[in-house]
Amino acid sequence: MAQIEYKGKVFNLDEDGFIDSFDNWCPEWVEYVKESEGIQELTEEHWKVIHVLQDYYRKHGIAPMVRILTKVTGYKLKYIYELFPSGPGKGACKMAGLPKPTGCV
């Protein structure tokens, strides 16, 4: 497990660049990881997606299905890819500090 430091914060990452625990998430993490996810500037819309994911995860203990994410945010899947080029799983969930998606991926 790799360790990186950014703006005084320390993060433990797996090979795919996901943080080891949701509890270790902080806004600096988003700032740090955005570039590797193909994002120049973080907008309010990015944050809205991140917050929806985090609220859902806190409540249900899992990431929402894509359909729920699009319904709650009101963003079409295409737009979510515009915001997060690697998509809701690899992009948005990673930035929100959620555990890595599993299954037949």
């Binding site: 090979e15 894509v66 359909r67 295409k78 809701p88 998606p101 599993t102 299954g103």
Partner: protein, 424 residues
């Protein structure tokens, strides 16, 4: 040339007549350290009887949510060259016809950016590039798309890469242009292929006839199987040639030695609906009773051919055992014409997806959703009328649901008026 790791167990697999994957990988390993370490890792797995890849792996290319299967070895200390060993799925041409030019270019790209190993092809159909590192994914994707006009295949909860049988390209039985259908589905639903939006994976497969050479009925959530609805075309002269021993039955599959076909025993008596008769000179088929199983046509390909009013049977729901048990696809549309631009088919697909996306639970295949909510609900959603051809037998339990609208008086009843007639 001596390789880095000793592989005594793998070496055993170089013996015997079948093409040895070990010999092949060793040949590549002479120039690719990644393959050298792969052999070492596999040898270690043979020894431990355990896999040595870590759980999961989430990598990909920008813009897509699938297409790459991330893989990391759990002993990078011993096998650093397979610390990353990601798989890239490349969308293959329908039925897998290639020119050497394309394959050579593809190999050049993979030689430069990957392990040099492939899987030709994955069981869903993709051409699989086996083993590369995260930093090489975008460069490979760039070159595939810019130099070869090729795209990634599907992975994740999306429409996976569709595939068809060889179809009309070189089979006289094909009732469908499977390549065109597969290409149409692939191109029309690119978004659904590259950006996971479904409750779970979804596969299409198209076979030209019920022999089903791409196993559509078993390996696709939506199986498209060619059939016909007019008469089997009979060449009586050729039938007599089979009976007389001039033509070899089954195209020589059971030996090419010339022999007389015992048409009664090998064809008439084996017909599942017994709708055929041989009077010693002519073959008669009662086509209205024929279920188009292909047997007689398979035995006498030079004498019998499918009809000319062709189309497809659309079946849904096949899946492997997890979670609710294995399923084959069930008939949903007994006969549909399949001609470009395939509008009727697209309408069906989109209605089916809308229903599944609305009602499907997380990681619930279409077949399981149909099981959970019932075939009736599915038929309503896709606006298809129930038909006897959709069931093997009628139900044998009496737990029959009625729509309140179909019952005079509905469900609202007055207990008091019941009590007036029936005292407690």
């Amino acid at each position: 040339m001596a390789l880095k790791h000793a592989t005594p167990m793998l070496d055993e697999l170089e013996k015997g007549p079948w093409p040895s994957f070990v010999t092949d990988i060793k040949r590549v390993a002479a120039r690719k350290p990644m393959c050298e370490d792969l052999l070492g890792l596999v040898e270690m797995s043979y020894e431990h009887k355990e896999g040595h890849w870590k759980h999961g792996g989430i990598v990909g290319v920008f813009g897509y949510g699938g297409g790459v299967i991330g893989r990391y070895c759990d002993r990078p200390d011993l096998f650093p060259n397979v610390a990353h060993f990601h798989t890239m799925r490349v969308n293959q041409p329908a039925s897998k016809f290639y020119t050497t030019e394309v394959l050579r270019k593809l190999c050049d790209i993979w030689e430069e950016h990957g392990s040099g190993l492939t899987n030709m092809h994955g069981s869903t159909g993709d051409l699989i590039l086996l083993g590369t590192t995260t930093d090489q994914l975008e460069p490979v994707f760039y070159r595939l798309t810019h130099e070869l006009g090729m795209d990634l295949g599907g992975s994740g909860s999306n429409m996976r890469t569709p595939e068809g049988c060889v179809g009309k390209a070189r089979c006289e039985w094909s009732c469908l242009d499977t390549q065109d259908i597969i290409y149409d589905i692939t191109m029309r639903y690119q978004d659904e292929l590259h950006r996971p939006m479904f409750p779970y994976k979804f596969k299409f497969k198209a076979s030209g006839c019920p022999n089903d050479c791409v196993a559509a009925i078993a390996r696709a959530d939506c199986s498209i199987i060619g059939t016909w609805r007019d008469k089997i075309r009979i060449d009586q002269e050729a039938v007599r040639a089979y009976v007389g021993g001039e033509l070899v039955p089954n195209g020589g599959s059971h030996g090419v030695e010339k022999r007389k076909l015992d048409i009664q025993k090998e064809v008439i008596d084996l017909c599942p609906t017994r709708c055929m008769e041989w009077d010693g000179k002519n073959l008669k088929i009662w086509d209205e009773d024929c279920t188009r199983c292909m047997h007689c046509i398979n035995v006498m390909p030079r004498a019998l051919r499918p009809g000319t009013d062709v189309g497809a049977t659309i079946l849904c729901g096949a899946k492997a055992p997890i979670l609710e048990g294995a399923q084959l696809s069930s008939v949903i549309i007994p006969f549909m014409k399949m001609e470009p631009p395939y509008e009727e088919f697209h309408e069906f697909v989109e209605k089916m997806w809308d229903w599944w996306m609305e009602h499907g639970k997380n990681r619930e295949r279409l077949g399981e959703l149909i099981q959970r909510l019932g075939l009736r609900e599915f038929l309503k959603a896709v606006e298809v009328q129930p038909d006897p051809r959709m069931v093997n037998t009628t139900r044998y339990n009496p737990y029959i649901f009625y729509d309140p609208a179909d019952v005079p008086g509905g469900w609202e009843r007055d207990a008091k008026s019941f009590r007036e007639r029936h005292h407690a």
